[in-house]
């Protein structure tokens, strides 16, 4: 054993301890490697930062930007809609379809992004079918992870693979984008099969507390507010009246937050007092159930069991509530909301107003606002984001975080086209992964699918620096001969098995490793080690590399 090997092993032990105990975050460990390894002379300064310009890191940055672009245009939401309708009410079908789709989507997107896409829908379906949401989320989460094995860019360890496949200073033939697809599809299919067959036994039958979101917690806070209901005006409703004439808020303490006009076939999310309610319309209202039932009885309207017409528009991802405070130099100070035509100007619904210790739920629009008054507003998240982005001085200060974001649905076709162009380059023109993906990301930025700042913000720097920092460690591990040394000794110990047995050993070893250290870390350490072992045993080193990344998922 040379002194370089000894140093490499000391660093390795150090890294493993840091990964297990997390004294510093994993990406900081990566940066430590970038600095420490060239300082102690295990690699050259150039090799230290080669990770940052590696195919893997550039690809992952591009994939994240492409995913963010798809997200921003709501393309994926359009996929989610039909899938949910197709799934219907059978639990097995819901699990199969949702998990399958999430798996396929996560083959091209980051796992978390793919799972997050179906999160609101899963929660809604679980509520409707009266099963705990974890029964749907658990299979969905697993399939999002397994879906990452379908393509080379689906998960960070697989992206890393091509950069790690160096044996004795020579680069092995890199994997293509779809080389591993058959394996990935089989894994995904068996996971879904497992959950549909044994799901009843292993999935929880009782629900826990999930993250409710800002709106739900605000509604709990303002107790008199009640919840969201949908009302239908029957066709035999004769006397169409304006909201002003109906005077619903004062009479029933119920706020109308949206109307779907059947005659005009359009929806309004800021109902005005001159809007007429007539037969066939649907209303979304916020209020206490008993008040809403009183309102429905009085006019002969129907209370629906769950939102239908507004299920999507008013879902947690699209609309919600925000608590705002009237700012010191606000144009609202000393005026009432009706005087300044608040709804026209702001495009959101005032639901409650608290002045000092008093909370008002009705007659809000005629109360003169003072600095520091708290206004509870309801509306589409997009409106709130526009209000928040207004130049200073803003009339309202937001006290609660906003969910959702400004979407660009009209750019959806462009986003899909750029993804298509990137994939075409990879499949048919054999363009290098990082170049092809980055051209797709660049296309999205140039055509305004997302701005360059949004692209920068979307990049997960933790993943980038973790990958970029661990690549030099992989280089040192291989270059100093440590990988070959350990592989040789392990083989001596287990007595030169056949390649198949060896691959099984590699698989089991990787499983244990990933239990204690991050999956990228395990990949960097085990890929060089296992490739050396397989070559010595007469097997295919690329196969070993694939087993390591496949198993560690």
């Amino acid at each position: 054993m040379t002194s370089e090997m000894l140093l490499t092993m000391t660093v390795l032990a150090f890294v493993i301890v840091l990964f297990i105990f997390e004294w510093v975050r994993v990406d900081v460990v990566g940066i430590i490697m970038m600095v420490l390894l060239p300082l102690i002379g295990l690699i050259s300064p150039k090799e230290a930062f080669v990770g940052l310009s590696s195919n893997a890191v550039v690809s992952i940055i591009a994939v994240i930007i492409i995913g963010a672009g798809l997200d921003k245009t709501g393309v994926m939401n359009q996929v989610a809609g039909p899938i949910i309708r197709l799934a219907g009410r059978s639990e097995k079908r819901v699990i199969t379809l949702i998990s399958g789709t999430v798996g396929l989507i996560s083959s091209m997107m980051q796992n978390i992004g793919a799972a997050a896409l179906f999160l609101p829908a899963a929660q809604r379906i679980a509520k409707r079918m009266e099963i705990p949401v974890s029964r749907i989320l658990m299979p969905m989460g697993f399939c999002a992870i397994i879906g990452g094995t379908i393509t080379l860019v689906g998960a960070s360890p697989t992206i890393l693979l091509n950069d790690l496949m160096v044996l004795g200073g020579e680069k092995l033939e890199p994997f293509g984008l779809f080389t591993q697809t058959p394996i990935g599809i089989c894994l995904l299919a068996s996971a879904i099969l497992y959950f549909t067959l044994f799901g009843k036994l292993i999935l929880p039958s009782a629900g826990g507390d999930a993250d409710k979101g800002v709106t739900a917690s605000l509604m709990e806070e303002y107790r008199a507010l009640g919840t969201l209901f949908e009302l239908h005006v029957p066709d035999d409703f004769k006397d169409s009246k304006t909201l002003e004439e109906l005077n619903i808020r004062t009479k029933f303490l119920v706020t109308i937050v949206a109307i779907s006009f059947s005659a005009k076939r359009e929806k309004s999310f800021v109902p005005r007092s001159h809007n007429k309610i007539s037969a066939g319309d649907d209303l979304a209202v916020v209020g206490r159930e008993e008040n809403i039932r009183r309102l429905a009885n009085e006019y002969g309207w129907q209370v629906k069991a769950s939102p239908e017409v507004f299920a999507d528009d008013l879902s947690r991802t699209n609309a919600g509530m925000a608590e705002t405070i009237v700012s010191p130099r606000s144009e609202l100070v000393g005026k009432s909301m009706s005087e300044i035509h608040f709804k026209d100007l702001y495009g959101v619904n005032p639901v409650a107003l608290s002045k000092g210790r008093k909370i008002f739920y009705s007659g809000l629009t005629n109360i003169r606002l003072q600095m520091g008054d708290t206004l509870l507003l309801q509306g589409p998240w997009e409106r709130f984001h526009i209000l928040k982005n207004r130049p200073q001085p803003r009339s309202l200060t937001f006290a609660t975080p906003l969910e959702g974001e400004i979407m660009r649905p009209h750019k959806a076709k462009l986003a899909v086209a750029w993804l298509g162009i990137a994939l075409l380059q990879i499949i048919f023109f054999k363009v290098q992964l990082s170049v092809a993906l980055m051209s797709g990301a660049l296309g999205m930025i140039i055509t305004g699918v997302l701005s360059i700042d949004e692209a920068y913000r979307s990049v997960d720097w933790m993943t980038v620096f973790l990958l970029a920092g661990l690549i030099p460690l992989g280089i040192a591990f291989e270059k100093s001969g440590t990988a070959a040394f350990i592989a040789h000794n392990v083989l001596e110990l287990i007595g030169h098995p056949t390649p198949i047995v060896l691959l099984a050993v590699v698989g089991i070893m990787t499983s244990f490793f990933t239990l204690v250290i991050s999956n990228v870390g395990a990949t960097v350490l085990l890929v060089p080690l296992c490739m050396n072992m397989t070559v010595m045993a007469g097997g295919d080193p690329r196969m070993a590399a694939l087993v390591v990344t496949g198993v560690r998922l």
Binding site: L7, T10, L18, E22, W23, I32, L36, I40, G41
Partner: protein
């Protein structure tokens, strides 16, 4: 044992102890 080896080992140990000393949680309590 040459000088470079000892220097390298010292550097690794120094980094290691820095990480340990300023680890998460410890600093929070002091604030």
């Amino acid at each position: 044992m040459n000088a470079h080896f000892i220097y390298s080992l010292a550097l690794i140990l120094l980094t290691f102890s820095l990480c340990f000393w300023f680890r998460k949680g410890k600093g929070d309590r002091e604030e």
